[in-house]
């Protein structure tokens, strides 16, 4: 998954938008290089669930001096901003679309894919509904119960379902915790999923699975 340029992320149900965003931010933080993260989106994608809060983003593992947020009134402007940002080599671009309007069409997602491929940048498409898309993988995200002590919230936790994977199998779901300090996911140690890969060390289970 890490090597592929375009991924689509959405909530697994109504009310899980924050989790979908969190998963997206976590991926962006884990991939982010010196070229930074550009979060481009429609107004609707910013207004509904509150405004991005820098302190929270920093605690999530994003580097604030390498983050730009671009808000666009119209979807075409948001897509344009994402394309422009993808033209910067190595950039990680979050393209966030609101719930209103039609799902993104295939052509627009192909354009994003092309931009990302051409400039070795990567795009995370965050949108509630989806239609046909050129994305390499599609994830449906729900929150997962915390894994910490009873009086703590602990690390952000997700139930991530891979509903589409151009590169391999899909349909499986994972429960992962986001380690913001080390900027990587750790998969919950479910007996059936214990594989050699993560006994070896900090290989990201999502990457190993979806590449």
């Amino acid at each position: 998954m890490a090597g592929q340029p375009l991924h689509e992320i959405g909530p697994a149900g109504a009310g899980f938008e924050a989790s979908a965003l969190g998963f997206t931010l976590a991926l962006a933080a884990s991939w982010a290089g010196p070229a930074g993260v550009i979060w481009a989106g429609e107004d609707a994608a910013f207004a509904e669930e509150g405004a991005p809060y820098p302190l929270g983003l920093a605690q999530y593992g994003l580097s604030l001096d390498r983050l730009i947020v671009a808000r666009a009134k119209k979807r075409e402007d948001a897509l344009w901003a994402a394309e422009q940002a993808l033209a910067a080599t190595g950039a990680i671009v979050i393209c966030a679309l609101g719930a209103q309007g039609k799902p993104l069409d295939l052509k627009a997602s192909r354009r994003l894919l092309l931009f990302a491929e051409r400039h070795s940048s990567r795009c995370l498409l965050l949108m509630p509904a989806s239609g046909p898309s050129a994305a390499w993988t599609r994830w449906r995200i729900a929150p997962a119960e915390s894994n910490a002590e009873p009086d703590e919230l602990g690390a952000p936790a997700f139930r991530a379902e891979l509903t589409r994977n151009r590169g391999g199998s899909f349909g499986s779901s994972f429960i992962v915790d986001w380690n913001a300090h080390e900027r990587r996911f750790t998969e919950r140690a479910l007996a059936r999923d214990l594989s050699a890969a993560h006994q070896d060390g900090p290989v990201d289970p999502l990457w190993a699975r979806a590449v």
Binding site: I68, A88, E145
Partner: protein
């Protein structure tokens, strides 16, 4: 120089009047009326008695000022430095511009003929000093005004000496005094003893004389601040298409970059001014976050900007000239430029600011933002967003803790949204709460984190809790005030969402 006003409708003499001390006084007469013996000393009644056919219009000084300003704006196609000299004059600083118009005389003729074609009476002179130009435009005989390039001629001071004293921009009373003293031409003053002259006619008259002769520099304030660097092109044929405009912009960018090279400066804001054949001009501005001195990125910004304004360019009659102004510039640090290829982090700083520039050119500075962190307790004031173009906060910015613990939400509602809460114990976290009409059952709670408000702003103390509901969703809520503090139980708010 321009006489404000409209062209005469027919053959009748025209005069402008205004109320003064209860009488209607002539304020302006056109050439025809002047020939018939009307002058500014007359009242309207006297003038009417002399010339019953006189067409009289009431003076509209505000309208005139507006008209003059419009003309000044139009004149900016000849030079960016246009000074409005009310009530009827304009100064154009054409140094360095004349070659674009095949010389000063051609430039002068073009300005005058085109103003006349628009229905304005206009006279103009080009001279080495503003004062001298003022004098010649108003008081030189027509033949003299047409003398090719006064500025070039050796004896311009001698020519100036032949003009009447009124040509020195004097108060009417001062001019009248000089006349009573028998000093009728500027030349006569030139030879008068300086101290005696000053004593009689006042400091101002001497100053005006010095300014006209170029003994003293005269500081004029242009209508718009003169750009420190600019490039101007005019076209033989009007230009219509966006492509052609871009081509021109590219030329101009090249010209400006060359000049900036020489000054060791870079662009922070550039404005492309397009002068329409219809007399209106359009300005396309781009901002840059770091001083820029390259044509390519500059053109990328202009291309984006033109894409948006493209339809609104409204080039119905085409553009006849274009100018690129560097509205703001900054010292260009050659060292950072050469280090870019060596130092990876510097290179990506450039990348990030490059993206910010491009996005801002289309979305605007309020919509392309970077995070800021402030040393404040109140969550609302502890962080915010600023335009991605603005200079960085510098090294003093507080670094938020990044130990991996989520103390603050990724999304913040401002203001917080009120929620309905069922708390277990009065000072404890809620057991259940209702937000957006849905009841949420709390399974985990962390807190309280007490954040005291600013007492000067009468803010109450808040106790914040981090909650997780049955489905795993996480919230940041607070109770405003303490139990037992007021008469009513304190209110609860949802302030943010953890992801």
């Amino acid at each position: 120089m321009i006489r404000s006003g409209r062209g005469p409708s027919d053959d009748r003499p025209l005069a402008v009047y205004a109320k003064e001390n209860g009488a209607l006084q002539l304020k302006g007469v056109d050439a025809r009326a002047s020939k018939l013996g009307l002058n500014l000393a007359m009242s309207l009644a006297d003038a009417r008695a002399m010339q019953p056919k006189l067409e009289a219009v009431e003076a509209e000084p505000e309208e005139d000022a507006r008209a003059l300003d419009n003309i000044a704006a139009w004149c900016e196609r000849f030079t960016p430095i246009v000074v409005v000299d009310p009530p009827e004059g304009l100064f154009l600083d054409v140094s360095g511009c004349a070659h674009l118009f095949d010389g000063e005389e051609n430039l002068r003729v073009e300005v005058v003929t085109r103003l006349r074609a628009q229905g304005f009476g206009a006279r103009a002179a080009i001279a080495p000093t503003p004062g001298c130009a003022w004098a010649f435009a108003r008081y030189a005989k027509q033949k003299q005004r047409l003398t090719p390039s006064l500025a070039m001629s050796e004896d311009w001071q001698a020519q100036l000496a032949a003009l009447p004293v009124e040509a020195l921009r004097l108060e009417p009373s001062a001019a009248a005094l000089l006349r009573r003293l028998g000093l009728k031409t500027i030349g006569q003053i030139l030879h008068a003893p300086r101290s005696a002259f000053t004593a009689r006619a006042g400091e101002n008259a001497m100053l005006r004389l010095d300014q006209a002769l170029g003994r003293t520099q005269e500081a004029l304030t242009p209508r718009r601040p003169a750009p420190p660097v600019f490039a101007l092109r005019r076209f033989l044929e009007p230009v219509f298409t966006a492509d052609a405009v871009l081509q021109v912009a590219q030329d101009l960018c090249g010209g400006v970059v060359e000049k900036l090279d020489a000054r060791g400066a870079g662009i922070l804001r550039a404005e492309l001014v397009l002068f329409g054949v219809d007399g209106r001009d359009r300005v396309i501005g781009v901002n840059v976050s770091k001083p820029l001195r390259e044509v390519k990125p500059l053109m990328r910004l202009f291309r984006e900007k033109l894409n948006i304004v493209g339809e609104n360019l409204d080039a119905e009659f085409g553009f006849e000239a274009a100018r690129l102004d560097v509205a703001r510039l900054a010292e260009f640090n050659q060292r950072t430029q050469t280090l870019v290829s060596v130092e990876a982090s510097a290179a990506t700083d450039e990348t990030i600011s490059g993206i910010a520039d491009v996005l801002t050119s289309r979305l605007g500075p309020k919509r392309v933002v970077r995070p800021t962190v402030h040393d404040e307790h109140s969550p609302e004031r502890a962080a915010g967003w600023r335009s991605a173009l603005s200079r960085s906060q510098g090294g003093k910015a507080k670094k938020p803790p990044t130990d991996g613990v989520q103390r603050r939400p990724v999304r913040l509602f401002s203001p917080g949204q009120q929620i309905e809460v069922m708390a277990g114990v009065p000072d404890g976290p809620p057991i259940k709460f209702r937000w957006r009409r849905v009841m949420r059952e709390v399974v985990r709670a962390e807190g309280p984190e007490r954040i005291s408000g600013d007492w000067q702003k009468r803010e109450m103390t808040r106790d914040y809790y981090r909650l997780e509901d049955k489905q795993g969703r996480r919230y940041w809520i607070y109770r405003e005030g303490l139990y037992g503090e007021g008469e009513k139980p304190p209110l609860w708010y949802l302030h943010g969402l953890f992801a």
